[in-house]
Each structure stands twice: as C-alpha cells, then as structure tokens.
C-alpha cells in the first residue's frame, strides 16, 4: 500500500497549528474591506451619503426658498410629466413642480429632508440610548430587572397623544425661549419620540444581555478584576451591537413616520416648516390629481429607510469579527 499523500510533513509541522494565512490588518481597514463586499450596504450607504449631502447642501445649489409662496405658479407638475402628457403644466424653474400654494417642491424636498433626517437620526439615537441603557441595566443588575421591566410595561401602556400634549404644555415655552421655535420644537419632538419608543429595544437588549452575561468570557473578565462598568462597556455592549443595529434601522423609519403623525395631530413643527412626513400627509387628499406629491416624499422616506436597513446589515457584518473573518 502506497502512501496516498506525496507531501512530506515534518513532525513538528504536524503539531503546529495552522495559522490563518491572511496577514493582520488594521481593524478599520478590515471593517471597510468586509463592508465593501456587501453590495446592498454599499448601495445603501452611497444613497444615504448622497441624500445627506443633498439635504445639507442642496439649498446652496437650488436656492428657492421652500416657504416662498407663489400663487401664480401653483400646481405645476414635475417636468417629467411632459413626457407622457404634453399638455401638462410644467416649468423648468420648478423641475419637480409646485404645490397648491406655489411652493417649490424640490426646495421643499430638500428642506423637508433636512428636518426629517435630523429628527429620524436624533430620535433614533435617543431611542437606542435609552433602550440600550435600560436593557443593559435590567439584564445586568438582577435587582433592577423587575422594577425596570415593570417600568417598561408602564411606558408601553402610556397613551402617546396626551403625553405629547403634556410635554408641549410643559416644555414648549422654555424650549422656545432658549432655542427658538423650530429648534425648540425639534428637541421636543425628538424627546417625545425617544421617550415613547425605546421599549422594544430595551426588551431585546435585556434578553441578549441575560444570555451573554452567562458566557464564560464575562466571568473571565470579572476574574481578571474588571469592574461592572468595564464589563458592560467592553464586553457586553459590543456583543449586543447587532440586535441594537436591527432596532436602530427600524427605529429610524418609525421616527420619520411618527414625526409626520405628530404634525398630523397638531403637535409638531410650525405648519410652514416642511418635513417629508408632513408633505406626504398633506398630499394624500390630492393623490389622484397629483400623484407625484405623495410619491416624491414617499419614495424618499422608503429609500432612506431601505438604505439604512441595508447599511445596517452591512455594518453588522463588517463589525462582527467572526463574520468578517469569512
């Protein structure tokens, strides 16, 4: 019987572990490399970057004031309508058309995007912050678990509208005084959305923390003298990043929509302050005649949410060294 392996193996090599062939690289290069592989994430990230830049600097290029009314030029259709409807009322000075008071749509999309994105991101970050802290505390400190979870139940059952009204009553004036009407309202809205939507995140994080807490590396960290703080920040949090990401992507969508629902209920931004959600809500009654007025903000919201979702997917993979290795 012949030896089936022609390769000569020295005994020492036999006992040596195979080392990973890839040379180590800097952590962030690595993350980026992995991230690049994720097509959806790249597309999502690219779109998000584009939208962010567009809403931030768009008004430098497109300088029409979004609040400027121009009754004579009301109800102009978007320019592309001319393709199938030669009789459409279109104008190059308003490429996306104007609304029923003659406000330019493109300018409104830009300005509205700024507000919506700001609210979405800020509220989402706040939600994640509250949800994660409560989830971590409940999961980590056994004594806090009961009270915090009961508190979560409490907040879950609070009716949002009265809460919002109370918040407006209590805080509108001081916030307006110190930040001005729009920033003040922004803080208020972000605050209220944050305060009322962290519960799901907290629950999920708590569950995961409870499981991770039992893993041996946490015990190992404790054995090597790590304080509770260190354990939470160095060991637990990075390991619950992935569920947090998932709720974050959903949270951004919810925040953008909740903001519109709030202005729908009359507790949002000043009425002449455009946001995507509000543009969408305002356009719904006329969606048969002017479908573009719902489609444009609707598409912007959906695409943003979608790209955040894909971006989150990609980031999650990229940030997880286990997946990154493969």
């Amino acid at each position: 019987m012949t030896d089936p392996t022609p390769t000569q193996i020295s005994p020492i090599a036999a006992l040596q572990d195979r080392e990973p062939s890839k040379p180590p690289r800097s952590q962030w290069r690595d993350v980026w490399d992995q991230f690049k592989h994720h097509k959806g994430a790249m597309l999502g990230g690219g779109f998000l970057l584009f939208v962010t830049l567009a809403v931030l600097f768009g008004d430098l290029i497109w300088q029409i004031d979004p609040k400027k009314l121009d009754i004579r030029n009301k109800d102009i259709r978007p320019i592309f309508n001319a393709i199938w409807d030669s009789g459409a009322k279109v104008s190059w000075s308003h490429p996306l058309g104007t609304d029923n008071l003659g406000r330019d749509h493109l300018a409104q999309i830009i300005a509205g995007g700024r507000a919506s994105m700001a609210v979405g991101w800020a509220a989402m970050l706040l939600t994640m912050l509250i949800g994660t802290s409560i989830g971590v505390m409940a999961g980590f400190f056994k004594r806090l678990d009961g009270p915090l979870m009961r508190f979560t139940d409490l907040v879950l059952s609070l009716p949002i509208l009265p809460l919002m009204l109370v918040a407006v009553t209590l805080f509108r004036q001081p916030l307006r005084a110190s930040f001005g009407p729009e920033t003040g309202m922004f803080i208020l809205i972000v605050g209220v959305i944050g305060v009322t939507s962290w519960m799901q995140t907290a629950r999920i994080v708590r569950g995961d923390i409870l499981a991770i807490k039992e893993r041996e590396f946490v015990l190992a960290a404790r054995a090597s003298g790590t304080t509770a703080r260190g354990i939470i920040f160095r060991h637990l949090l990075p390991n619950v990043l992935s569920p947090i990401m998932v709720s974050a992507t959903l949270g951004l969508a919810t925040a953008i929509i909740t903001e519109s629902a709030l202005s729908f209920l009359g507790v949002g931004f000043p009425s002449d302050f455009p946001t995507w959600g509000k543009m969408l809500a305002d356009a719904v009654p006329r969606m048969q005649e002017f479908p573009e007025r719902v489609m444009l903000p609707g598409i912007m919201i959906s695409l943003t949410v979608l790209s955040v979702n894909y971006l989150g997917d990609g980031l999650r993979d990229a940030l997880d060294p286990r997946i990154r290795g493969r």
Partner: protein, 544 residues
C-alpha cells in the same frame, strides 16, 4: 308614501355620541337627534322662523308675545303623538324646560333658557314662558335644533344629577320626528326607521335610515361623491379643488349654504409677552406694545388678500368678507373696503406712523419690533391661510411666527394650558365663530370689557381680543333695551364699525358657508345653516 323609498344612508365624519342635545352641545349630536326630536319652531334656510310643533310662531302682532316683552305663549299643534303613540302635551314642554334648567344637570343648552323665570302649562296645548326682564328676542327656548321637546314620561327620572345615568333614554329618545331609533352605537352608527306615528301620514319617504359616523371628511366626501356608497355627507371641510375633483365623478352634487360663520383673525389688545409674570400675560394690565396702534392693525388688515384666501381655502363655500355679522342682511355693514389688498398702502401707512424697516426688513419703532406670533388650531386650510398671510405680512415688514395647536386643546378652555384660544398667549389668532339663530345681540355683547378672559374668571370669557371701550359697552347696554328691529340693526352696525370697520381689532376674513354633499338620487335636500341640516329630512325622497 311613507317608507316607499327604502333606505337612506347619511354619513357624518364626526360621529354622534349621544342623542340628547341637552347633554351635549356638539353639532353632530344636535343634528342627528333632530331627526328624532323636534322643537316648537325652526328656522328655514333663509333664517325665517317656521312653526314646527307649534301652530304658529308667536309674535307681538298675533299676541303670542307680551307687549312688555316679558312673556311668550306657544300653542301646540293638535293631535301630535310621540312615536310610542302617547299624545304630546304642554306638560312635556314644561318638563323640557325644567330638565334643562335643573342646576345640577349640566344642561348644554342653558343659554337658550337664559332669563326664563317660569314655564307654565296654560292648558294641555298651551305653554307660557315668562322672562325675568323684557326680552326683545324671546325665541330662545324651544326654537331650533338646540332645544327640542323631550318626552316627560321617558325622562322623568333622569333629571339633575341623574341625567347621565339614563343611558337608554339618552341613546333612544322618544320623539315626534320622522324617524325613531332602532339602535344607537355611540360614536359609530345609528339605525332608524320611519316613525309610525309621524304627523304627516305620507312621510317620511324612507323606511330606514343608516346614520354612519366617523372616518374623515375626505372619506365621507368620497363615499357620496365618488363611490355612491352614501346618500348624504355633512360639512365637507375640504380644499375646493379636492371637492371639485370629487364632484366631477358625477355621482353626487355639492350643496352650499351660508350662515353667520366667519373665519377671522383676532388681534390681541393686551401684551402676551412671556417675560411678563404669569397672571399678567394677556391681561388688561399691559396693553399690547404695537397692536394697540390702530395704524398697525389697519396695515395688517390691508395686507391681506381675502379674495385669494377664499378662493384657495373655500372656493364656492366661502365669500370674502369685511363683516363679522355677514347675515341676516339687516345687520350687515356692507363695507367692502377691506376686500382689495393694498400692500403699498399698508407700507405707506406704517412708514407714516413711524414704523421704520430695520436691516432685517422688520419694522420697528422705539425699540418695539413688529414681530408676531400667529396661532390657530391644526387644520389644513388654516395652515394654508397662515402661510399666505405670513408672506403678506412679511411684505409689509411684519415678522410672523406660526404656531398651530391641537383643536381639542385650543378650543378646550383648560385654564391650565397656555395654548387655549381664550388665554391667547399669542399676538394674533385665527378661528371661526358664529352666532346662534338669527339674533346677534349676545354675539356683539360678547366683546364687552367685562367678558375678557382673565385669571380671575379662570380665563373664561368671550371677548378674546380683550376689547375694552366704554362707548362700546354703552351701546351694548342700549341694544339690550331696544326691541325695534330697525333700531337694533342700526346699533349693531354702529358697534360693528367701532371695533371692526374702523377699529380693526378683529379682522374678518371669510364668510364660511357649509358644504355638504348629496347623491344625485336624493331629492328634497334644502341646506339650512340656521338650524339642523337635517331639518326637513321628512321631505327627502329618492329620485330615480
């Protein structure tokens, strides 16, 4: 013939929550109950009074109203029956008054009975209402949808504090109207069928009525104008282009009627500055820093294009107006000077008055900037108005910050909230108001000094602009003593000029009509804004 036309379906996008109008002031409740219970007299679509359960409208001429204006005597029609078959008597009328005037009952229509000293049954069909003082307009009680007659037998045990406990009675009052309640689901739907004991044996033409509530105005409009699911939809507060588009579907038609409802801007005569201590904001203690200047007020009014506002916000359901009392015709001022926008004139006026534009384009004088906080309730049309008006005011150098407040807070009157229209912690605010019936006395009297909301009155009061002029108050007192219609009209016009046409303390914008929609297959609809829209539902019929 009664019941021959099958089923009638009506949609009100605000759902009725109770069928006893004495326990709820809501229009939806008044109108839905008006199909079931009826008053002694009603107003028709022109504001004229018609006898309903009464034989005739009592007047001084026919002796129904005492010469000294302190009493009025109503005579019921003969042979009237409640829907349960028992006869209607004057005792029921007397009971109705007692029911509402019971101090513990919290009657929503108490204002109708204001000044009533006693209500007595003279005989089975005659009722005499006596007033404590002469009442130039004695048609408060038992007139219009607000004070229909309820059955004594049914409500006898439901007076005072026990009123809310009688759910069955409140949900299914026995009445004399063309329909009786089969089933009432509060805030949802009422099913009714023709009243077998209705006084006109040929009416109503419909055997059944489904009165659906809830949803939104758009949905209600669609259901009548586009899909034809419903026959009648009430009060479609939608943008004119949206309505026009719906109507073009060809299933239904819009009905428009005008009353006394006026969309207006109230100017705050007192200082709402948040720097003032709580309790002094928006009170007579501090006059407004710039709105107390007539020139500013006038300029604000001149800058507004009421015609355009109407066209955008209400279309055929609105008329630009300079009148706070747009109807009845005897009382209207007829002034149309405000209808033409005059930005240049307004600018000139302000220049002349010494308000100079600063570098930011905002006018100022003696360190006072023309910077306004403009609030209103949340509502799409009002928000459009705000945007337009803000732009015009900016053109005359007035900076405007917009705010909208949830309607339930704005109109709620909670003294704890800073956002109510009575508290008026803003410089200007916009809403609509009207008066009941055809007599504007109480309406004009509301602008007297004593009726300004203030902390001592728990911020209750109707003088929202906080107008305080002795001459005006004197005229109001005189009006209360005057019985002659012509003289009354003259007084009203004088008062009106004082605060509006010349005083610019309230800026009327639009005389708002009511738009309702009916299916093309529904006949007999006469839109009435002085009474319930459903006032003549007995005459409605199916067109084939």
């Amino acid at each position: 013939e009664r019941g021959s036309d099958g089923e009638l379906s009506i949609i009100y996008w605000q759902a009725p929550s109770i069928l006893n109008p004495y326990l709820s002031g809501g229009t939806k409740d008044l109108e839905s109950s008006s199909m079931i219970i009826e008053p002694l007299g009603r107003y028709n679509e022109t504001g004229e009074m018609l006898p309903w359960l009464a034989k005739e409208i009592p007047t001084i001429e026919n002796g129904g109203v005492a010469e000294d204006l302190t009493s009025i005597t109503w005579k019921l029609k003969e042979g009237l029956l409640w829907s349960d078959g028992s006869p209607v008597t004057s005792a029921d009328v007397v009971f109705t008054a007692e029911y509402c005037m019971n101090p513990e009952g919290g009657c929503a229509q108490l204002a109708k009975f204001e000044g009533v000293k006693s209500v007595e049954a003279v005989d089975d069909l005659t009722v005499k209402v006596t007033f404590a003082e002469p009442k130039p307009f004695p048609y408060g009680p038992f007139m219009g949808a607000q004070s229909p007659i309820i059955q004594k037998a049914q409500f006898e045990n439901c007076t005072g504090a026990r009123a809310p406990e009688c759910t069955d009675a409140n949900f299914g009052p026995i009445g004399t109207g063309p329909f009786v309640v089969d089933d009432f689901k509060p805030n949802d739907v009422i099913t009714m069928s023709a009243n077998p004991n209705y006084r006109d044996p040929a009416k109503p033409a419909f055997a059944k009525v489904t009165f659906k509530g809830g949803g939104d105005a758009t949905g209600a409009g669609r259901a009548v104008l586009e899909t034809g699911e419903f026959d009648y939809a009430w009060n479609l507060q939608l943008a004119p282009d949206v309505l026009a588009k719906m109507e073009s579907a060809g299933v239904g038609v819009l009905e428009v009627g005008f009353g006394s409802l006026v969309e207006r801007i109230m100017l705050n005569m007192t200082d709402p500055s948040p720097d003032l201590p709580e309790g002094e904001r928006s009170t007579a203690a501090h006059p407004h820093p710039f709105l107390s200047d007539l020139n500013v007020r006038k300029a604000l009014s001149m800058a507004i294009d009421r015609v355009l506002l109407t066209e955008i916000g209400y279309g055929q359901a609105g008329r630009p107006t300079c009148d706070l009392v747009p109807a009845p015709a005897v009382y209207t001022s007829g002034d149309e000077s405000c209808l033409t926008q005059d930005i240049a004139g307004a600018n000139a006026l302000l220049d002349e008055a010494g308000w100079v534009r600063g570098s930011d384009g905002v006018r100022a004088k003696d360190g006072v900037r023309l910077s306004l906080l403009y609030q209103t309730s949340t509502n799409a049309v009002r928000q459009d108005f705000q945007a337009l008006i803000k732009q015009w005011w900016e053109e005359i150098g007035v900076e405007t910050e917009l705010r909208n407040v949830n309607a339930s807070v704005f109109f709620g009157g909670d003294p704890g909230s800073p956002d109510t229209f009575q508290k008026f912690y803003a410089d200007v605010e916009m809403y609509a108001n009207n008066f009941d019936g055809t007599d504007p006395e109480a309406y004009m009297a509301a602008q007297t000094c004593g009726k300004a909301p203030r902390p001592e009155s728990q911020w209750q009061g109707e003088n929202i602009s906080r107008i305080c002029m002795e001459e005006y108050d004197a005229l109001v007192a005189e009006l209360g003593r005057t019985g002659d219609l012509e003289k009354r009209a003259a007084l009203v016009k004088e008062m009106h000029a004082m605060i509006i046409n010349d005083g610019y303390m309230i800026l009327p914008l639009v005389d708002r009509g009511r738009v309702s929609a009916r299916a093309k297959t529904l006949g007999g609809v006469v839109l009435n804004t002085w009474d319930s829209e459903l006032w003549n539902v007995a005459d409605w019929y199916r067109v084939d």
